[in-house]
Amino acid sequence: MPEAATTPAMAEVLSVGKESVAGCRARVAHNVLNQVVLPGEELVLPEHEDVDGLGGAGEQPLRLNSGARPRLRVVCGPGLRRCGDRLLVTKCGRLRHKEPGGGGGGVYWVDSQQKRYVPVKGDHVIGIVIAKSGDIFKVDVGGSEPASLSYLAFEGATKRNRPNVQVGDLIYGQCVVANKDMEPEMVCIDSCGRANGMGVIGQDGLLFKVTLGLIRKLLAPDCEIVQELGKLYPLEIVFGMNGRIWVKAKTIQQTLILANVLEACEHMTTDQRKQIFARLAES
């Protein structure tokens, strides 16, 4: 969980900085899990430990197949880049690892915090329609360029049966093309042609922006914040991975309360949050 920068974390960061500058040696990824990493650090993957340690021994174990080392497919996620056989850190944050379900290796990524969204393929985002030109809509998803959305990418849309989308509407869709060389594209259907909840988001409600880390925290399977909110009053929420949240409740006051609580819960401790919820439940 991304924590606010407090003194212990700062001390940790300073010690990490000193170590990596003085040592100039890559650390083994396994030993650094859940610790703060800084951009520019190189991480060595666990299999290669043997190769590094052999230098001192003088004896080399017999290798059955010369040169061919057993390799597991490792996925380097956000915040990491491939650099030869090692991982290069590009964002500051905590290093996380997930064990593989099946197949080899695992996933390493950096749990960082940022407000600016960069479109990523496969992300579900909330976009605002800003222009309609011919057969495509231009949708602002918070990135450097507006994404394009074809009018055929809605469930049940044909050339004659066009979807009812106006400029200024909110769209919940998925990015299918998102790289640094092309303009992003999004769609509102999945690969089978079904909507699965994507499309135009209904009337009323309130759209507001939060940090990307908060969205991931709220969408974690064991997050209690959203469950507790749901017990207060009937409401509907849509989370976009681009940092946008849309909420709707029965009255304007309830909607505004929801928005304020969600924006503030990033910097609250669990006890403060429980106090606030208790007060809200009373009123």
Partner: protein
Amino acid sequence: MASERKTKLSKNLLRMKFMQRGLDSETKKQLEEEEKKMISDEHWYLDLPEFKEKESFIIEQQSFSLCEDLLYGRMSFRGFNPEVEKLMLQMNSKNKAVAEEEETVEVDVSDEEMARRYETLKRDRANYEEDENGNIKPIKT
């Protein structure tokens, strides 16, 4: 003049759908495997072992959905939007990949009754045979 050897059917003809219906599954599988081998032999690939060594085994992915199991982004509580609540159940169970116990299909007629019914309906094979067109005719005794 009557030809003494049987007319050999070409391979393409044998591969047509109507010729395959008569084959049993084993021959069908063999034919499929042969076809696959032929097709994969035609594919070109790089046969450079040094290249394979240098091929990196690290894959770069910028998406968080692989890393963390995130819930579905649309949520509704206390019946505000019933369709979204249905969707929530559907998508989240897909994510968790919970192997829901297969509910036994409720049947109107039990299995034993079906077996008894079939016994009475079953024709006695000794009295019937198929002619060249596939029609079932009784053997004239």
